[in-house]
């Protein structure tokens, strides 16, 4: 549905990645992993359409036909693709309901029942009871869910999340992963970048970005191998077998 075709991106003289081709499909949870500085956030921004690659292009399926992502208007793009950034710091203190209602901006000229959609989005992530609370009063986990509700209010077909687990404790990380799996099961194409590799085992597919390119893309058991991980992270890795058919647990050894 959303496909990057041979994309290359540089910041000035510094090449971030070259010739990256990656596709996202509905009903799929894709984990994007890689060391710091590999370009995960940049790739997310290229896939979301807010940054244009110097080479290559990105296409998206809309109404059965494939279109250039950068040929769509900003509103149209926002109707198809929603992004949850790693950290969002609003300049002013909005309530939870106000925040989630911002997700309806791309649909502002439509006659949809915006209020119902906002309520449904809050319900889907479990923040309905917080609707009148101010964002500043919430915990990191609650805020992350509010930003996810905001993204869902856009009614996207593609959901991109930049390290959504980074500020969460283990319990909330589990809740967030379950939520993402549920959203993928409902038909969304979900891509999330993650540092904690053991969470990547829960994805349908994993893409490993490092050293300026995609080292591997495929099911977790094919990507999360000792060879791949040691090449990407330049450190010793130990894989601990778990259940049959499940990808192994990953531990990083000290040199």
């Amino acid at each position: 549905m959303l496909t990057a075709h041979g994309c290359s991106f540089s910041y000035g003289e510094r090449r971030v990645f070259s010739d990256v081709s990656l596709s996202l499909h509905p009903y799929e949870l894709l984990a994007l992993i890689g060391p710091n500085g590999a370009g995960k956030t940049t790739l997310l921004h290229v896939l979301s359409g807010i940054q244009s690659p110097q080479q290559g292009h990105v296409t998206i399926q809309t109404d059965g036909k494939e279109e250039e992502l950068f040929g769509l208007s900003v509103d149209e793009r926002a109707r198809h693709i929603a992004v949850v950034e790693q950290s969002v710091a609003p300049a002013f203190d909005f309530s939870v309901k106000e925040m989630v209602s911002f997700g309806r901006y791309p649909h502002r000229h439509t006659k949809h029942d915006h209020s119902s959609i906002v309520n449904e989005s809050m319900e889907a992530v479990g923040v309905s009871l917080l609707s009148d609370r101010m964002l500043s009063e919430l915990s990191a986990g609650e805020k992350q869910r509010v930003f996810l509700a905001l993204a869902l209010a856009q009614k996207p077909r593609v959901l991109l999340l930049d390290e959504p687990l980074s500020h969460l404790d283990p319990k909330h990380q589990q809740t967030m992963i379950s939520l993402l799996q549920t959203l993928a099961q409902k038909g969304l194409a979900v891509l999330w970048s993650v540092h904690e590799l053991n969470w990547a085992r829960k994805a349908d597919r994993v893409a490993l970005l490092c050293k300026g390119g995609l080292l591997a893309v495929g099911p977790p058991s094919d990507v999360l191998t000792q060879a791949h991980l040691e090449t990407a992270y330049e450190t010793k890795v130990r894989l601990i077998p778990t259940e049959p058919g499940e990808p192994p647990l990953i531990l990083f050894d000290r040199e």
Partner: protein, 341 residues
């Protein structure tokens, strides 16, 4: 906490009415309410009544001044609210991009080189100066679109332009005759003394389109306060939006400075007070800032006319006396919040 209730709006409207009435009534010359009311009805051709000299004083001097104060207070507050949204900073004000310096330079050059006694020339030159500085800033921003994304750099360009304007104004004042400089000083500190009906008509005609265009951007401004990246993800064209907002609010600020000089702190204090009361959504913040600003500035002008009567302080001094303690308390609260984090 319920924000923006009907009661809040009624209270704002009530404050505005009380402010306008008080400001029209209080002055160095006492005008009976009967003269005020009948004079107004007569001018509106609703009654026939022999207009008294006091009624004429009220209708031709005091009322236009009060209305100009309301219009300028509303404009500065709106512009301040927009700037705070664009720069994502509740400490931003309408003069942040150096327009006031440009206007002052235009006025100084007019006082120095312009024909004496021309009533319209000073505001025109001031407006041209302010607008020119705005254009310079926008041209610099267009040369590097990145500047629109770098708030600090944009502010620094504004500070640089402001400093340049101040320096050039200083040269002009230094080179001017005493009476030319004196005529400027009162204007530099802000004054509503130019308030007459033709000025009000012209100001309203020029300001109204800017007000409408700015309030229309309320929803997009909300998204801008989430950050440029998030706003882009949600379908906002960030650079064109910022360009429009900076241009329209600069024109509005330039209009105010052209007619009334530099009146500080209104555009900083009023949106900040309103935000605490009506919430940060710009569809409530901007109109309510206009209402509170329209109430605030005439009251300040009343204080400036009455405090040392029969002497009249420039209204900018009164707004500064009120605004500086407020601004400092804002800053201290913000620093305490950062320290607590």
């Amino acid at each position: 906490m319920r924000r923006g209730t009907v009661g809040s709006w009624l209270l704002l409207l009530g404050l505005l009415c009380v402010s306008l009435l008080l400001s029209a009534w209080i002055g160095s010359v006492h005008v009976p309410i009967k003269d005020m009311a009948f004079g107004l009805l007569r001018r509106l051709r609703l009654i026939s009544w022999p207009e008294t000299p006091l009624a004429t004083l009220f209708l031709d001097l005091r009322l236009p001044r009060v209305l100009l104060g309301a219009l300028c207070g509303a404009s500065l507050s709106l512009s301040g609210g927009v700037m705070q949204g664009v720069f994502r900073n509740p400490l931003a004000d309408p003069y942040i991009l150096g327009q006031a310096s440009g206007a002052t330079l235009g006025a100084a050059l007019c006082a120095l080189f312009g024909p004496p006694g021309s009533f319209w020339l000073l505001p025109l030159c001031a407006f041209c100066g302010a607008f020119l500085f705005t254009l310079v800033l926008l041209v610099i921003s267009e040369m590097s679109a990145q500047l629109y994304f770098d708030q600090s750099a944009l502010i620094l360009v504004g500070v640089a332009l402001g400093s340049l304007g101040s320096a050039l104004t200083g040269i002009a004042l230094y080179a001017s005759q005493t009476d030319q400089a004196n005529s400027l000083v009162y204007w530099l500190f802000g004054s509503l003394a130019l308030g007459q009906w033709p000025q009000i008509a012209l100001f309203s005609a020029c300001a109204l389109p800017m007000v409408i265009l700015l309030v229309q951007q309320s929803h997009a401004l909300d998204l801008l306060s989430l950050g440029d990246t998030m706003a882009a993800h949600l379908g906002v064209s960030v650079v064109p939006l910022k360009r429009r907002l900076l241009l329209f609010s600069s024109v509005l600020t330039a209009l105010v400075v052209a007619f009334c000089g530099t009146i500080g702190f209104v555009g900083l204090v009023v949106p900040h007070m309103v935000r605490k009361w009506m919430g940060p959504r710009h569809n409530r913040l901007l109109p309510s800032s206009c209402l509170l600003g329209a109430a605030f500035l005439p009251l300040c002008d009343t204080v400036s006319r009455s405090l040392l009567a029969p002497l009249e302080l420039p209204v900018g001094i009164v707004t500064a006396l009120i605004g500086v303690p407020f601004f400092l308390s804002l800053l201290l609260r913000r620093l305490r919040k950062v320290k607590a984090c």
